[in-house]
């Protein structure tokens, strides 16, 4: 896979700043130089064999790549008898796909001669991954997290602090991921000489959507090879959850040229996509500018961002990466909204049928697989991006299912 770790500009797929009518750079002039610097540093890195070798060594010896591909036959019984394969990003060091991106960006940070990284985090997975990479490479680290998220993901807050990161609870706005991003941008404008903003998803201004996709692309590259080795053909459907969309783009990208493979992204439908309590920016959003890019988003008539809702902190974001909006526009990928209740049902089924506790984010993709299997029947092969593990969600899920006694809930 060495030759294709990073995608070729010759592949006729967009490399940013624009993905169709989406993307761009809607940012203060003060950040233009820093974004140019990242783009240039990454452009040099991808053609430098030393960078690729360093990154592949970290994948292999630190993260534990390639991650497994696990068939889930007992889970599949609930999916109309289709064959279901799980791409086990949950087995990565730090427990999710987020490590793929941060190791690449941490190497880039060193190459740019910067000594400090900052990051936003929702569920805490990107924050934990950033804190981990910072510890590994001797970088100073500050993570911004919405105050509501620090409460519902308190274990990840402790984890980041154990790793030596400073965690700042953001009390502004809706106190969730979007406000953490705002605060990280404010830090970055003032600290850009020494600091790299380790953006966690495929949203934000160019080059982040391209950069993060390139670093997550390994999910789909490995999966594509593994599934063909296993069953001698490509899957019929590939599914992944979509908040900002980094694991989904990472999984989808290598399959985009395979026109016979359906790509299905599962957004957070919250209480229901027809309620006002969801995070379904692709299926329910409108064209706008948020956090430096033009994409689809949840907003009111005046362009004020509307608060999103999801039981999963990692999908609780009112925007989405511009490349997903483009894939949605062109019809190459389809997107559906999965409710909190559907995701939690899929979560429960996977725990009990396969002995795997998934992240609630990834449970949205699992719910999509259940639906797709029932729609397509027993001949279908479904590949699911199991983007993270559910250790961080035990309190939320335990409370949801009534498995915690009153004392434990208070603690």
């Amino acid at each position: 896979m060495d030759s294709e770790l990073f995608s070729s500009p010759a592949a006729e797929l967009p490399q940013g700043p624009y993905f169709g009518r989406f993307g761009g750079r809607f940012i203060p002039e003060a950040l233009v130089a820093a974004l140019d610097e990242i783009e240039e540093a990454f452009g040099k890195a991808v053609v430098d064999p030393e960078f690729t070798a360093d990154l592949q060594r970290l994948h292999r010896e630190y993260t534990g790549r390639p991650s497994l591909l696990t068939e889930a036959p007992r889970f599949a019984e609930h999916a109309g008898g289709a064959r279901v394969f799980l791409k086990r990003e949950d087995l990565n060091h730090t427990g999710s796909h987020k490590i793929n991106n941060v190791l690449g960006q941490a190497l880039l940070t060193k190459r740019m001669g910067k000594t400090r990284v900052i990051a936003e985090t929702g569920a805490g997975q990107h924050g934990v991954a950033t804190a981990t990479a910072a510890a590994l490479m001797g970088l100073e680290c500050t993570v911004y997290m919405g105050a509501e998220d620090t409460e519902r993901q308190s274990l990840n807050v402790a984890r980041m602090r154990l790793l030596g990161a400073e965690v700042v609870a953001v009390d502004a706005g809706t106190r969730t991921l979007k406000d953490a991003i705002n605060e990280a941008f404010r830090d970055w404008v003032a600290s850009v000489d020494s600091t790299h903003y380790m953006f966690g998803t495929v949203a934000g201004p160019h080059p982040f959507p391209m950069l993060v996709r390139e670093l997550q692309r390994i999910i789909g590259l490995e999966s594509r090879e593994q599934i063909q080795q296993r069953i001698g053909r490509l899957p019929d459907v590939v599914t992944a959850c979509v908040g900002g969309g980094s694991n989904a783009i990472g999984m989808f990208h290598a399959f985009i040229p395979d026109s016979e493979v359906r790509l299905v992204g599962c957004e957070a439908g919250g209480v229901g996509a027809d309620s006002n309590l969801h995070a379904a920016s692709l299926t329910k959003g409108t064209l706008g500018v948020l956090h430096g890019a033009r994409s689809l988003m949840l907003q009111d008539e005046d362009g004020q961002t509307v608060a999103s809702h999801s039981i999963s902190a990692g999908l609780d974001y009112p925007g989405v990466g511009p490349e997903h909006a483009w894939l949605h526009d062109t019809g190459r990928a389809e997107y559906r909204a999965v409710t909190d209740a559907e995701a939690m049902e899929a979560f429960r089924i996977l725990c009990r049928t396969e002995g795997i506790i998934p992240a609630i984010e990834s449970s949205h993709a699992l719910a999509g697989a259940l639906q797709l299997g029932r729609e397509l029947g027993p001949e279908a092969v479904i590949l699911v991006s199991l983007s993270g593990r559910g250790d961080k969600d035990v309190t939320t899920a335990g409370t949801y299912f009534g498995y915690l006694d009153a004392n434990a809930q208070e603690a």
Binding site: P28, A33, N182, R186, V189, S191, V289, L290, G303
Partner: protein
């Protein structure tokens, strides 16, 4: 009167211009409009009417908090035009400062048309760089509005030239790398940035971010065409109402007439 005309006539008086920012809708729409009239009465040459936004990434705590209160109070994009009209009637030159999504959702051309219709002369766009501004450049040309882009200490000479060439009115020079808010010192980088921006072709350069005292206003006014003050005015309005605001405005008006 375009901002360039205002800045030239201030220069003819051998002084810098005083540009005051206040957000519409803080503490509510009616009182924000009164506050803007007080700003004009106190001597502001240009008033920046700010539009509150849910995700103000370029603003520090003061303007964020004012925006949160204004949005909670129900401020709408159309309230900008009420404020702009009041400023124009009071005799100062109104411009709008808005994050880009607000303008885009209103409709870029419709926004330009409606702003020009009530006497507004331009828009400051903190998160719109000229690279992304084709539609705004066309609309501002069509309706004769100034487009006020920003430069920062991190801008390269090429960027300074590009921004200067794309701007009409004045270039807004961010004095420091950072967000809005009061600072004890205006960055040393500001004077150099103004000189570099002029050398890159800008006719008028005004400085904002961090100016909060009369002394800073005279210091910056000594080299800039205009001195932009925001958070310090919001703080005054918040803590002491219109009378406290007027007192602060008088200090800044004096500051720009006393070039350090």
């Amino acid at each position: 009167m375009s901002t360039a005309t205002v800045l030239s006539s201030c220069a003819a008086e051998n002084r810098s211009a005083f540009i005051g920012y206040l957000p519409v809708g803080f503490p509510d729409v009616a009182r924000s409009v009164d506050a803007m009239r007080a700003l004009v009465a106190g001597g502001a040459d240009i008033v920046e009417v700010g539009m509150p936004y849910s995700d103000p990434t370029m603003d520090g705590p003061t303007i964020q908090a004012a925006g949160v209160q204004a949005l909670a109070g129900g401020v709408r994009t159309r309230d900008i035009f009420t404020a702009v009209e009041a400023v124009a009637e009071a005799g100062a030159t109104p411009v709008v400062m808005s994050y880009w999504n607000i303008v885009e959702q209103y409709g870029v051309d419709a926004f330009a048309r409606d702003l020009a219709g009530v006497g507004g002369v331009g828009v400051v766009t903190p998160d719109l760089i000229p690279d992304e501004a084709a539609e705004w450049i066309a609309a501002s040309d069509a309706h004769g509005l100034d487009r006020i882009f920003l430069v920062a200490p991190s801008s390269t000479p090429e960027r300074l030239a590009y921004v200067a060439a794309s701007t009409r009115g004045f270039v807004y020079a961010a004095s420091t790398m950072g967000v809005t808010g009061t600072r004890t010192q205006v960055g040393d980088a500001a004077e150099q940035l103004v000189a570099d921006t002029r050398a890159a072709g800008a006719e008028h350069v005004c400085v904002g971010l961090g100016v909060s005292t009369r002394e800073q206003a005279s210091e910056v006014g000594a080299y800039a065409d205009g001195v932009i003050v925001g958070s310090a005015l919001v703080n005054a309005l918040d803590s002491g109402g219109p009378s406290a605001l007027e007192a602060r405005v008088a200090e800044f008006s004096a500051g720009v007439r006393d070039r350090g």
